[in-house]
Symmetry: C2
Amino acid sequence: MTLKLYVDRMSQPSRALLIFCKLNGIDFEEVYINLSKRQHLSPEFKEVNPMKQVPAIMDGRFKLFESHAILRYLACAFPGVADHWYPSDLYKRAKVDSVLDWHHSNLRRGAAVYVFSTVLAPAFGLPFNQQAAAEAEKVLLASLAKIESVWLQKKGRFLLGSGQPSIADLSLVCEIMQLEVLDEKDHKRIIGPYKRVLKWIDDTKNAMEPHFGEVHLILFKAKEKFQKQRDAVGSSIPQSSRKLDLHSKM
Amino acid sequence: MTLKLYVDRMSQPSRALLIFCKLNGIDFEEVYINLSKRQHLSPEFKEVNPMKQVPAIMDGRFKLFESHAILRYLACAFPGVADHWYPSDLYKRAKVDSVLDWHHSNLRRGAAVYVFSTVLAPAFGLPFNQQAAAEAEKVLLASLAKIESVWLQKKGRFLLGSGQPSIADLSLVCEIMQLEVLDEKDHKRIIGPYKRVLKWIDDTKNAMEPHFGEVHLILFKAKEKFQKQRDAVGSSIPQSSRKLDLHSKM
């Protein structure tokens, strides 16, 4: 039976799984769980993932959720996957695990809450929570600084000084890509100072083309739509009373 | 060279590492990084963990941080560790990874922020953030409900229906143990309704004695101290203007 990926390409960990499978020649069926239509809350999807979140997979009768656990599983279960993605060497693997675990409460928390507070909540007419946005920005900036100073210090182009990407590069870069939906100035202000991070994102993209670009197409369309809405409203600063008229997902 | 564990027993992931090593007969040196004295911010400790957090380890010249990555590493690096802690079977291991990854943004986020908001912040004279406490409580209760309904449904005494504990049981139970410092009524209100969770905590403790109790001694001393302070102030509800006179750590 084919591997089924339950994903929404607007979700950054969903995109990471899709890119991973495409890059590694893993056959799969993409099952679209439309988040904006709340399909992740359906009784059918609850049977796949009781936590009601994408991504999730079914490999035959084996069900799994949590994108990092899935990436680890795919890297080990499919013999064609090159070792650099999730090294079999104990020490290298432990370091990749360390980055993946760090991600949750740092880059992911900062980026996801910042995007939600400043772009998605206003688009859905929810109040702008200035405190949440400010706290998320702090976490996000601190996380980018740590990536730059701790993991991109060595000679290799990728995290941990590696010459080839691991699932940690893939997961973290997909997270940072979500910042594309921010207002251009805001995006530049946040990520601009981190030159090594910018180069690493480019290197990761280049190492994963054409799949990286193809899977991210939806994000760039959303970026355009958000920008047009912001231009129409005349400001990049979300206000609690302002509702952007966005009928597309996100 | 002996394995060094850089820990503070007041930190729940530090306790998980200590218990794991003691249970599995792994020789180690316990290096106390006193959080209340801000020793985790020292230049010496930054050399061990640039993220300035406990726990961290040095195994010979190999440095590692993030408790889940460390537990995975120890389970694989020390041949005496029984397979049930981190199964070599691909499917079982993936399921353990899924629980560990889920933990970060759910149980950990809920429990840690709730304890900080309602116990630690007031004890340090910081303002009581009611919104943060309320949001953390929601995440915490939802997490306990998910553990009960998703992972403790099967016949085994431990997570995922296992008959023996994994590093996921150890990590999650150590997190929940941190709730011991709450006011008694608050603790009962939060955890009381989750009967399967309570039984699982007992089963996990029993499977890990005498080390579980010994490593948690410091927490029960802190619990007493916090309760005395609350009794002296005459209320279990933290107030922004109230500062508990706690000179011990936490």
